[in-house]
Amino acid sequence: MARGPQLKALALIPALALAAAALTACGGDGGGTAAGGVQLIASGKLTTCTHLPYQPFQVKQGDKIVGFDVDLVDLVAKKLGVQQNIVDIAFENIESGEAMNSGQCDLAAAGMTITDKRKQKFDFSEPYFEATQALLVKAGSPIKDFSNVAGKKIGVQSATTGADYAKENAKGAEIVTFDDLALEEQAVKNGTVDAGVNDNGVLYDFVKTNPDTAVVKEFKTNEFYGIGVKQGNSALVTAINDTLKAAVSDGTYASIYQKWFGKAPTWLPGNPTQ
């Protein structure tokens, strides 16, 4: 056989591969159904989207991701009889609902506050954690709250409620947006910004290991974390809510809370949110 056609036949291989990919891309892993009629994107797995790092809710420890959120979603996975599989993606993708609505993951557990704006893009479980906004500064900083921040730089994390809160309440300050919590915390620690605003849980956790920084103020903002689910996936929302209810009544919630925050919860899922 002449050499020409043989080489051309080789050139056909990528084209065939592409065609095969096109045919399978839209089929793919059809996902699976778990207990309670919950549709999952991958069979035998509850796929969670999160944005690392968000200690102590979601944090990488060795080769595993652990945290308060992870423990709670593990309870949901157990109820469904599947394993939890955690995927780290940009928080914007979660916050815009894109990650859940496009089927990248079943749910998003990322220390995420329930807001009206987010509710328009995807569905939330019942609240599972009460959060407040807190102000992180370098130890000994003259900044104690938002009263004397004019002209100062305040670090916030992209797409968070803390960012919105700072923009509205830190009068005259220059708001600097960081892509993740660690970058924001580092910027406060090394003086790139004068203060940082983020959720209380994560900042207290940071101060524990960085005594040269301090949390000087908490702003009660009436915020609650919820687990995000694709719009209209009510079976999964029900499964999560039932799991939360059971965890509160048998004391599992309190013990997980104690494990990650070192104190008993003052608010429990199911309590009034006002």
Binding site: L12, A19, E98, Q186, N190, G191
Partner: protein, 268 residues
């Protein structure tokens, strides 16, 4: 039955066309066009991006790229001359620098400059634009040094000999005779590097941004929060192409004019 070579060839070509058509048809039927339209081409969302996407985001992308490219070109030229120097330590330093920085992802270099400097030298805070300029300059200089070196070596030896025989010093021959010609040779690969750098400027987000400092990539990601769907990314993508496509046309023109040029750095 045995086909003639020509028949075989044309049958083969026909098969390729059919395959291509099948792929197109499959995509056309399987895709949910309404969904794609809503997700990527929502005109209302696109309209909301203006004018800021031009006056802030595109402007910053161009500024960051230009700053980085200017520094990278200067550093690259110095490094290229060091690489060709007869002084050993110069050569070793340039060699080490080029190998080191060519082998690192731009993202790490940004973190090292933007986040590392204040940690390594407490209370040293480079202005943000300087940090971006330094990071992009380091990234591009390593590539451009190799490109420029290859360009200098591509200038015919006779040019140097002629200049020397006219009584020029080696330095003067290098500056007035060799470098201008080398520069002409390396223009196309430098245009290529400028395209690369335009895309690398999207890493500026790592340094933290105020709304006025956002470049295209960061701007579109922030816009995603307000919008439903991915239209902001499409708008930002088109803005990048507004910069990069003219550059590649320019590059092709230059290649036609000056020959294929040389590429020491190679594309990433």
């Amino acid at each position: 039955m045995a086909l003639g070579r020509r028949q075989r060839r044309s049958a083969f070509r026909g098969a390729q066309y059919v395959l291509l058509l099948v792929i197109v048809v499959v995509f056309a039927f399987l895709a949910n066009w309404g969904q794609i339209g809503r997700a990527f081409f929502d005109l209302d969302v696109a309209a909301q991006q203006f004018p800021d996407v031009i006056t802030v985001a595109l402007k910053n992308t161009i500024i960051f790229t230009a700053l980085g490219f200017a520094l990278g070109l200067g550093l690259g030229l110095v490094l290229a001359l060091m690489r060709l120097s007869s002084v050993g330590p110069y050569r070793w330093f340039a060699r080490g620098y080029i190998e080191f920085f060519r082998g690192l992802p731009a993202l790490l270099i940004f973190l090292a400059v933007g986040v590392g400097v204040p940690i390594a030298f407490p209370d040293t805070h480079l202005p943000r634009n300087v940090s971006i300029m330094v990071a992009l300059g380091i990234v591009s200089s390593a590539y451009m040094a190799e490109t420029i070196r290859a360009g200098i070596q591509a200038v015919p030896r006779g040019q140097v000999e002629a200049a020397r025989s006219l009584g020029m010093s080696p330095t003067r021959a290098m500056i007035t005779i060799v470098i201008p010609q080398a520069f002409r040779i390396v223009l196309p690969p430098l245009a290529n590097e400028l395209i690369m750098l335009t895309k690398d400027s999207s890493l500026a987000f790592l340094l933290g941004t105020t709304p006025a400092q956002q470049e295209l990539a960061q701007f579109s990601r922030q816009a995603l929060l307000e919008a439903k769907g991915l239209t902001p990314i499409v708008v930002a993508g088109l803005c990048y192409l507004v910069i990069t496509i003219p550059l590649s046309i320019l590059q092709q023109r230059l290649e036609k004019k000056y020959g294929a040029g040389v590429s020491g750095g190679g594309a990433t």
